[in-house]
Amino acid sequence: MELLINIFVNGLATGMLIFLLAAGLTLIFGLMDVLNFAHGGLFVWGAFAAVWTYTATDSFMLAILGALLTGVVLGFVTEKLIIAPVYGNHVQQILITLGFMLVLTEMIKVVFGPNQLAAGVPSYLAGSFEIGDVILIKYRLFIIVTGFVVFALIQFILKRTKIGLIVRAGVLNKDMVQALGIHIKKVFLYTFIAGAALAAFGGALMAPYSGVVYAEMGLEFGILAFIVVVIGGMGSLPGSLFAAILVGLAGSFMAYYVPDLSLAVNMILMAIVLIFRPQGLFAARG
């Protein structure tokens, strides 16, 4: 029983980290119709920025702030330089963002050195709770709670604020939003920056969870986030949450019971969804 709970908590925590990445990705796709293959690069920059800040200041809060700031700056630059020239052309978007992903990954090695960095858990989140025989690692619980809080926060912004309303309307019909006098390009930029900040935040939380950060984890997690977005339905936030948890749990259970298949399970899940229901489980449009 305690084993099952541990596997479950582990999977849920991984799922939540993927969700933080996927949330930005799915919103950007839903609103801007842009598929950002460089999203994982923003994630890994967040992770490194957080580890660097944490090492320098010993403050987890500052580390997260550092990651968010990195995400905002990189998000701004990426939207202006990389995304804006290729609006409306999917093939070019795929090509250019993939190229930018390579550049972001290599730049990590230039700025932070080519080796992986060790990341520590702040003392107040280290350790675990013991309830009977069940051991719950604090940091994992922290990630799970944070994930749900972020989900609730995004939902609140989308449902209860004017900017959220405009984003939801923009997902449905961009032209009409503009014809109602709204500067949609500006909304695009804000959404993109918010998505980038979320990715960087995910990276910051990921670092202490995995214990080390390395440049290539951007591509790894970027692909996972894509898988989640595709399974959940591009543009659907609840879909991404559901799919992220699904992918997290599937990975965690498979790693224990059928380790040979654990690498393949996500790919198989996505392939099945794409073949039988390409719009994803929760289609945002139509």
Partner: protein, 335 residues
């Protein structure tokens, strides 16, 4: 037009001859090996160009066909005798396997829109990678295995000529393929898929044929690659191979066939020299940044890459008005 064409062919012929003579006049083993490597990747990049440049689809799974070729040759030569016959059989086997796989993958994936297609090809090639890692009795997983190449390839020069021959054959084949009526349909697919469909062409049918052709040629490149290393491991199935093909195609010039060859040359050479320089200053280990930036600039500003640049320079020198390729025009409008 006919004159221009024969001029083109003349230039190609001269370059081909120069490449054939090259190893006989130079003693440099390094150059022979380096050029062989370039030929192999040029074949891979050309096959990718058939998809990206002529059909307008972005595949993230091209490495699986390269890997199929590499493993076929590796496993054949390890399990049976390292003779020329088995080498040829292994190439044929790889091509047939690649054709079968690309046919089914194509049917499954090509119905989807561009980014779903990209993701599904990524997933399927990911599954091939996992299979290569887990089926250790056959592939020895990530550790890989060495094998002996046929006796005749002990001479680097022979293998150089074989690789060059394969490159020339692939080039001629693809050139004919894209200028056939079939190729015209593919190009019109890239320009406007729905219009092509409304003209009564079965677009899926044509795309599947293109992806089979691309898969088969990528498999050939994989077979040659395996021989050149006398070693195969899972790296032949990784995303890195697809990324290499992508970089070479984009930087060299999409939709030109000659571009990917140039791209392969430029990238392999630069990689060779820059990693040499890296011994002095580690910043050169990050050569991919330079190519990443070049690549991004190419996507936005020079969609026809080096080959397109040379072409318009040539036309300018001849005092002709530079003809803007239609795909270029469209991209400019869109950006």
């Amino acid at each position: 037009m006919a004159k221009a064409l024969s001029l083109h062919n003349g230039v190609y012929l001269i370059i081909a001859l120069a490449l054939i003579i090259f190893p006989f006049v130079t003693e440099s083993r390094t150059w022979t090996i380096l050029l062989t490597q370039i030929f192999i990747f040029a074949i891979l990049a050309m096959s990718y160009d058939l998809l990206l440049g002529y059909t307008g689809i972005v595949s993230f799974g091209h490495a699986m066909f390269f890997g199929i070729g590499a493993y076929s040759t590796g496993i054949f030569l390890k399990s049976f005798e390292p003779t020329l016959l088995y080498f040829i059989l292994s190439i044929a086997c790889g091509m047939v396997l690649a054709a079968i796989v690309s046919f089914f993958v194509g049917i499954l994936t090509l119905r989807l829109k561009s980014h779903y297609f990209a993701m599904l090809t990524l997933a399927l090639s990911g599954l091939f990678l996992v299979a290569a890692e887990k089926w250790r009795t056959l592939t020895y997983g990530n550790d890989g295995f060495t094998f002996r190449a046929p006796e005749i390839f002990q001479d680097r020069l022979v293998f150089y000529l074989v690789a060059l021959g394969c490159l020339l054959a692939s080039f001629v084949f693809l050139k004919r393929f894209v200028s056939s009526p079939m190729g015209r349909v593919l190009i019109s697919l890239r320009e406007n898929e729905s219009r092509t469909a409304s003209l009564g062409f079965k677009t899926l049918h044509y795309k599947v044929i293109a992806s089979v052709a691309a898969g088969v040629i990528a498999s050939l490149a994989g077979s040659l690659y395996a021989i050149s290393l006398r070693f195969v491991n899972t790296s032949v199935m990784t995303m890195d191979i697809t990324l290499d093909a992508l970089l070479m195609t984009i930087i060299g010039g999409v939709g030109t066939l000659i571009g990917p060859i140039l791209g392969a040359g430029v990238i392999e050479l630069a990689q060779h020299y820059l990693s040499g320089l890296a011994r002095e200053n580690p910043i050169f280990e990050r050569w991919i940044i330079l190519f990443g930036i070049l690549y991004i600039l190419a996507v936005i500003f020079f969609p026809r890459g080096i080959a397109g640049g040379i072409q318009s320079l040539y036309l300018k020198l001849r005092g002709k008005k530079v003809g803007v390729h239609r795909s270029l025009k469209k991209r400019v409008v869109k950006s």
